[in-house]
Subunit: 87 residues, 2 copies
């Protein structure tokens, strides 16, 4: 099982670099994101496989819904994505 | 093959409604989005399956990279997602 790259507010190339590093150490990596960062996680996987690691592929994509508690104790649902890559 | 719901700039519930309508007429529907709307497409699928159509499921998710031409003739890459749902 490869390590997990959590995609958040940094520039996409930071996560591309982290994903590439993982793919030099392991055959597998998972890219995870929640909410608005989901689009960036997809960008990250697409950039890695198209531009930097041509022998890598997306082996699976799953989505889920997580329940988060905000500062005032209210609950809200947020979507998440997990993109599995391997080479 | 079900119809395609293209997710863009409208509120997510507009696409949830369109997806639900399709799932009353057909067993299958595809939800597609590009760029920042990808997160909203995932929200749409998650809301439909968790809240409104409990017998539906996500049967497949694929991502791709499309090359778009902007107004000045320059080319840029944009990620896309296709979420297949069935019930």
């Amino acid at each position: 099982m490869g390590k997990v790259i959590y995609v958040g507010g940094k520039p996409v190339m930071d996560y591309v670099t982290a994903t590439m590093m993982q793919l030099t150490e392991s055959d597998e990596v998972s890219i995870k994101a929640r909410g608005r960062a989901i689009s960036k996680a997809v960008d990250c996987a697409e950039i890695v496989r198209n531009r930097f690691v041509p022998d890598s592929e997306i082996s699976g994509i799953e989505t889920d819904t997580d329940e988060l508690e905000d500062d005032s104790g209210g609950k809200r649902n947020v979507s998440s994505i997990t993109i599995e890559m391997r080479r």
